[in-house]
């Protein structure tokens, strides 16, 4: 299929390009960028006047609940949600049922995702078997099956000896280990420790749960040389530790979830279970530090932390409610809102959800390493076309994700995806974009 996208504002964060022009796509690749020769004969022309033409989004933190929820068609609905959100590449956590610790499971998941012909799916393999924190998985086999890194998801690796060996082993082969820094013992609470949790009578997760874990991880990185991606920082003190580690030259990168970037514990309101998230929403000074750190690059990436949760699992008292919320369809808008609030250029804003997450994945992307998250002639045609000026109100029932829980219900947000193209074919088109 040959597609011509005409007269859109082409924004490519990696190259700094920001100019109106045309994009020609053929055989899944971008064949011309900016000006397209007159002899290009498209099957399809998309009028992109008034739209931004950006690289497809790369989301480093999602859960699709497969394996485990095949009977509910979870993979179909959540991959459709990704396409509707302009997300063309997504990384999913290994805490499925069963856990992604066997190459066969990873191959099956990759196969199922490919057969949907939607976005690219990149699973993280389990760092330890069953995520139990005891024995290492077959990392080389899992990598061959398609894993882009290894993680413990929310299952803490309590045994520091095992974690040390896991990092040593991973670093032998250059695999990246993805860890959410949280001390297992101090991390039991349901809200951020602080005056609000104390007032509401909710058990709190203290900031030191994050900083103690970061200190441990950094010592292990110093000793092993392993490359670590730190998932979903939540505190000002945590950000400061990451800043120092990067200044020291440690091979670490870090991300922040969009809820932590926009909300605080005060948003829990009257025990709103939609605000039950991990990591918990912290205080305003933490949120401000996370926003500043994303702007100055201490935090590399913004993630949706898309975690579908059943309505029944949310309709419970706050502490009993399952943590998580839908997110794929809100990532672009919440990135744009952060960018507008903090005076970032559109290219810099988009970098946090395109080129920067692609850089974290790096060589793990294989043949797509040089073009995912960016717009390159000859590179893969993963694009997101959106109307930056269109505001919309979040109605959970209008989302494609099966999960209706979102802390942003009722929010008016900027930026509406009009068309998502994955490997040269339209994976999503809003009604008004169809010509």
């Amino acid at each position: 299929m040959k597609i011509l996208i005409r007269q859109g504002r082409i924004v490519d964060p990696a190259s700094g390009r920001d100019a109106v022009g045309d994009v020609a796509i053929a055989a899944g690749r971008i064949v011309a960028l900016g000006s397209v020769s007159a002899d290009f004969t498209p099957n399809r022309t998309i009028d992109a006047r008034g739209l931004v033409v950006a690289p497809g989004l790369v989301d480093l933190a999602t859960r699709l609940r497969e394996p485990g929820h095949e009977h509910e068609g979870m993979l179909e609905s959540e991959m459709a949600a990704a396409a509707a959100g302009g997300v063309t590449s997504l990384v999913c956590q290994p805490d499925t049922d069963p856990v992604l610790d066997e190459p066969g499971l990873v191959e099956m998941l990759k196969f199922r995702a490919r057969s949907l012909n939607l976005s690219h799916l990149y699973p993280l393999g389990a760092l330890t078997r069953g995520l139990k924190g005891e024995a290492l998985t077959e990392m080389a086999e899992l990598t061959e099956a398609g894993c882009v890194g290894f993680a413990q998801a929310e299952a803490p690796c309590r045994d520091t000896l095992v974690l040390h060996r896991a990092l040593s082993y991973a670093s032998t082969f250059g695999y990246t280990v993805w860890l959410r820094p949280q001390d297992a013992w101090l991390g039991h609470g349901v809200a951020a420790k602080g005056p609000l949790a104390t007032r509401m009578g909710l058990s709190g997760v203290p900031v030191i749960a994050e900083t103690i874990a970061l200190n441990t991880i950094f010592e292990l990185v110093r000793d092993t040389g392993a490359r670590v991606h730190l998932c979903r920082l939540s505190s000002a003190a945590g950000v400061e530790r990451v800043r120092r580690a990067k200044a020291e030259g440690l091979p670490v990168s870090a991300d922040v979830a969009m809820a932590n970037l926009h909300l605080t514990d005060v948003d829990i309101g009257y025990f709103d279970a939609a605000m039950r998230l991990t990591p918990p929403l912290r205080q305003q000074r933490d949120r401000d530090a996370l926003r500043a750190a994303l702007a100055d690059g201490t935090l590399d990436v913004l993630v949706s932390d898309h975690t579908p949760v059943d309505a029944d699992a949310k309709n419970l008292p706050f502490a009993e409610a399952e943590p998580g919320a839908t997110g794929l369809e809100l990532l672009l808008s919440l990135a744009l809102k952060w960018g507008a609030d903090s005076g970032q250029t559109l290219a810099r804003t988009l970098a946090t959800v395109t080129s920067a997450p692609a850089a974290v994945l790096g060589d793990a992307l294989g043949t797509l390493a040089s073009s995912a998250g960016r717009l390159v002639e000859g590179g893969v045609a993963d694009l997101c076309l959106f109307d930056a000026g269109a505001d919309w109100v979040v109605h959970a029932d209008a989302l494609r994700s099966r999960c209706r829980a979102t802390p942003f219900a009722g929010y008016e947000l900027p930026g509406r995806v009009r068309c998502t193209i994955v490997a040269g074919h339209p994976a999503y088109e809003a009604a008004e974009a169809r010509a």
């Binding site: 104390t198 009578g201 009257y270 309709n315 419970l316 008292p317 502490a319 009722g410």
Partner: protein, 320 residues
């Protein structure tokens, strides 16, 4: 963030549920205390009933066992002529796997007019108030560590009864404050009613510094905490917290923070001693104090019935 209306109040600012004392205007608290005063005489009459809730059904939903609190609500509802149904949920439907909201939907279908809810998780009554039919009223009878508003109100009634005025008082709350819904409700009520000095007294494991933001003075030293106090509220120390990582032993707790006649002598000579019950003699309070002339622990129980009658009659009279 998006603004939300306090779910306890209707659009006219009237009380339709009692979920927490936090956020309630002083006038509402005073109205409840004044109404309770008028009900006290009912309790002394030969026929202890008024017809304010005649024909109404009050369901006591206790997801956590508490015979004492449930009984006082039952007496209060019966004295208002309501029909009372006690459901010991801890041992029935939820044990069979029924969800909280399914339980509520089923009971609503039985034409309940009021739910009195005790639940082990903070905020559970908010979830129930949000999902029950508009004509149903919810009274929080204790949720997790969050709130026990009728206990807070009966404590205020007791203080007002003995001290007349809140404006010059020093109130010390002693013991396991971090896990106490009573302490939280007392603190909100005392600050709303204008008490100038509220002290939270106990070791750092039970009295976190974050409490300062609720408007209290945090004291880790018992002598500093009760010196010159007009009112001392002792909290119950739960058995499971008496030894472990929070406290080494009940004996050591009593040595440091137990209320003995010697320590009570540091308070004002006319200080009153309160306790939400049931008391642990020799753990948080010495028997000589619990049974002494300054103890108002039993009058608290009597006032509690009048306060619960006041709360139920007021919310039943207001529409969502």
């Amino acid at each position: 963030m998006l603004a939300q209306r306090n779910p306890q109040l209707n659009a006219h600012g009237e009380l339709i549920h009692l979920l927490s004392i936090e956020g309630l205007p002083r006038a509402v608290l005073t109205q409840i205390l004044d109404t309770a005063g008028s009900f006290l005489s009912v309790n002394d009459r030969e026929v202890k009933k008024v017809p304010l809730l005649r024909g109404k059904s009050v369901f006591n939903l206790f997801f956590e066992n508490s015979t004492r609190t449930r009984t006082t609500f039952e007496i209060a509802a019966k004295r208002l002529s309501a029909d009372v149904i006690n459901l010991d949920i801890a041992r029935s439907s939820t044990a069979k796997g029924e969800s909280l909201l399914d339980t509520i939907a089923n009971l609503s279908a039985m034409h309940a007019d009021m739910f009195v809810v005790r639940h082990g998780e903070s905020g559970a009554p908010y979830l129930i108030a949000k999902h029950c039919a508009p004509h149903v009223h919810v009274v929080n009878a204790g949720d997790g560590r969050h709130a026990h508003p009728t206990q807070g109100l009966l404590d205020m009634y007791t203080i007002r009864h003995y001290k007349k005025d809140f404006s010059g008082l020093t109130v010390a709350i002693v013991g396991d404050i971090v896990h106490s819904r009573v302490a939280r409700s007392d603190i909100h009520a005392l600050t709303t009613l204008g008490v100038p000095e509220i002290r939270a007294v106990g070791p750092k494991t039970l009295v976190p510094g974050d409490l300062r933001e609720m408007g209290v003075r945090v004291c880790h030293d018992m002598v500093e905490g009760i010196r010159g106090a007009d009112v001392i509220i002792m909290l119950r120390l739960q058995n499971e917290r008496m030894s472990g990582a929070l406290l080494p032993s009940a004996g050591e707790f009593f040595k440091n923070y137990g209320l003995t006649p010697e320590k009570l002598a540091l308070a004002k000579p006319d200080a009153i001693v309160m306790h939400p019950g049931p008391i642990n003699r020799g753990v948080e309070i010495d028997s000589a104090v619990a049974d002494g002339r300054q103890s108002v622990i039993l009058p608290q129980v009597t006032f509690g019935i009048a306060v619960r009658m006041a709360v139920m009659s007021i919310i039943a009279g207001n529409n969502a």
